[in-house]
């Protein structure tokens, strides 16, 4: 009899834990939507802030987020994928490979504010690149490269050895084999890793504070590279703390949550396609 009570008690306890988790998520998102949606407007999303007209617009920040995604990925993908290719397909020294993998693994755990500090010191001060999208992107590249390398490596490892042997046995050179047999079959996994990296970029703030800057002015792509340009996350901080416009901050939060949701859904679809293909 007491065993039955105990079982029910445990079951109830687990149920409560799950309920708390869901409640947490629902209330968090709910509150943000409650405060943020009323503050959303077409005007907010499509103009830049103007002191003259005393209006607020987050278009520059939306564009800055877009720019920084593009620049970061344009640098991180080629370097990351090539590094992963070297580690998985070419490297002979097992100890060296382990050391590099350990380094990459550790990098993912370092707090992003440290990347921001290093980025500021190296890119904006040492190398003299002005605060802007470029310096911010370079900082983010350091942050997400380990992720890209790791997911690409995992993806390459799922390609069966037998494909490589089959190609080589017919006289294919190593790079030809990798290009025609390995990479096409690893692409899905690589893409999923990239999508997840984009999700991380969208949510990054600490690393961008002193590298991409706080600028709220609308710039074209080229100018934004070397002009102080706040992404959505940094803009949220600026409007909330320095300008006291908490409603705007919540509106930005809504935009960010929607973006994150969309990215996660796309990543989920990509991963699903990958799973279906390998069945």
């Amino acid at each position: 009899m007491s065993r039955r009570i105990w079982n029910n008690a445990v079951k109830a306890g687990l149920y409560i834990c799950s309920a708390v988790t869901v409640a947490l998520l629902v209330s968090l998102i709910g509150y943000i939507m409650y405060r943020g949606i009323p503050a959303l407007s077409f005007h907010l999303l499509s103009t830049q802030s103007s002191y003259l007209n005393d209006t607020i617009g987050i278009l520059p920040n939306i564009l800055n987020t877009l720019y920084i995604i593009i620049v970061t990925m344009a640098i991180a993908i080629p370097i990351g994928v090539c590094a992963a290719l070297y580690l998985t397909e070419y490297a002979e020294n097992k100890k060296l490979v382990s050391a590099i993998e350990f380094a990459a693994e550790t990098l993912t755990g370092i707090p992003s504010i440290i990347f921001g500090l290093v980025g500021m010191l190296v890119f904006t001060q040492l190398l003299g690149i002005k605060q802007g999208i470029l310096a911010g992107a370079l900082t983010l590249v350091m942050m997400i490269m380990p992720t890209i390398i790791r997911t690409t490596q995992e993806s390459l490892k799922t390609v069966p050895m037998s494909y490589r042997e089959g190609a080589l046995a017919m006289g294919a050179g190593k790079w030809y084999m990798i290009r025609t047999v390995v990479l096409p079959n690893a692409v899905d996994g690589i893409v999923t890793g990239c999508i997840l990296a984009v999700g991380r970029i969208i949510g990054e703030s600490a690393a961008l504070l002193f590298t991409a800057g706080f600028g709220l002015v609308l710039n074209n792509f080229v100018d934004s590279l070397t002009s102080s340009s706040a992404t959505l996350t940094v803009a949220l901080y600026v409007y909330a703390s320095e300008r006291g416009e908490t409603n705007v901050a919540f509106a930005i939060a809504v935009v960010l949550i929607i973006l994150t949701l969309v990215i996660n859904m796309i990543a989920g679809l990509a991963a699903g396609r990958l799973r279906a293909k390998t069945k």
Partner: protein, 251 residues
């Protein structure tokens, strides 16, 4: 007999472990040579030295000579990709690429610079016919090769190896994962193939060796114990160990 390959004093080490010891043998041209022996005796390792597939294994060390067309294939100036074009390999488990049947067969020729559609069409048809699978797949060349049955996939892999027009075909227990009917089809195929190619096959199946091989090499613990025509090996083996193996006393 005409020689396809001449092996002299071949030794191979995987790290510290010696897998092949002083192997010397001449492989006859346009005949089927079977490599037999118990598990772990080195026959697959030996097969892979013939097209330098052992190069892919880390820590492999080789001494001795493997001569093809009068040249030692382990000379530093040998072009390995060209070598593997002339000495093709079919593996134990069929490994078609996840592409269409057509692209699988065309893969080899494309490596070596053939891109003209007309020529590729011709090669694909010839190879699939040589591998006795043309009629079964001619209407579905653009469908995925992974949709074929195990036996068909293996014949596809044979066709793929034939597409680059090799001289020698190495078969590493290529029928051990197949049902008897598919095995029978491939054995028939080998008998046809030896007219144009030299076939060297590793097999666990002694009945298969008896059925189709002309020559037989018996390996044991990394050494070549006996090499002779299959007729002689299976009727009057010279070495007691050979006799013990083929009568099933071990292995």
């Amino acid at each position: 007999m005409d020689k396809a390959m001449e092996i002299k004093d071949l030794n191979l080490w995987y790290g510290e472990h010696q897998a092949l010891e002083n192997i010397s043998v001449d492989l006859p041209k346009n005949e089927i040579t079977a490599l037999i022996g118990p598990s772990g005796c080195g026959k697959s390792t030996f097969l892979k030295t013939l097209n330098r597939m052992n190069d892919l294994v880390q820590g492999v060390r080789i001494t001795g000579e493997v001569r093809y067309n009068g040249k030692n294939i382990y000379d530093p100036d040998v072009d390995v990709t060209d070598l593997r074009k002339k000495i093709g390999m079919v593996f134990q488990k069929a490994n078609p690429f996840p592409m269409s049947i057509y692209d699988n067969i065309a893969y080899g020729p494309r490596i070596h610079g053939v891109h003209a559609k007309v020529k590729l069409d011709e090669i694909v048809e010839r190879s699939l016919k040589d591998a006795a699978i043309w009629n079964e797949v001619k209407d579905r060349l653009r469908t995925s090769a992974l949709g074929l049955s195990g036996g068909q996939q293996q014949r596809l892999c044979i066709a793929r190896a034939l597409a680059v027009e090799p001289d020698i075909l190495l078969m590493d227990e290529s029928t051990s994962a197949l049902d008897p009917i598919s095995t029978g089809k491939i054995e028939e195929l080998c008998l046809e193939l030896k007219k144009k190619y030299t076939v060297v096959m590793v097999t666990h199946n002694m009945q298969q060796a008896v059925r189709i091989s002309d020559w037989c090499a018996f390996f044991l613990l990394g050494k070549l114990i006996e090499f002779n025509t299959s007729e002689k090996i299976f009727s009057i083996p010279q070495d007691k160990r050979t006799e013990d193996y083929i009568t099933g006393r071990f292995g």
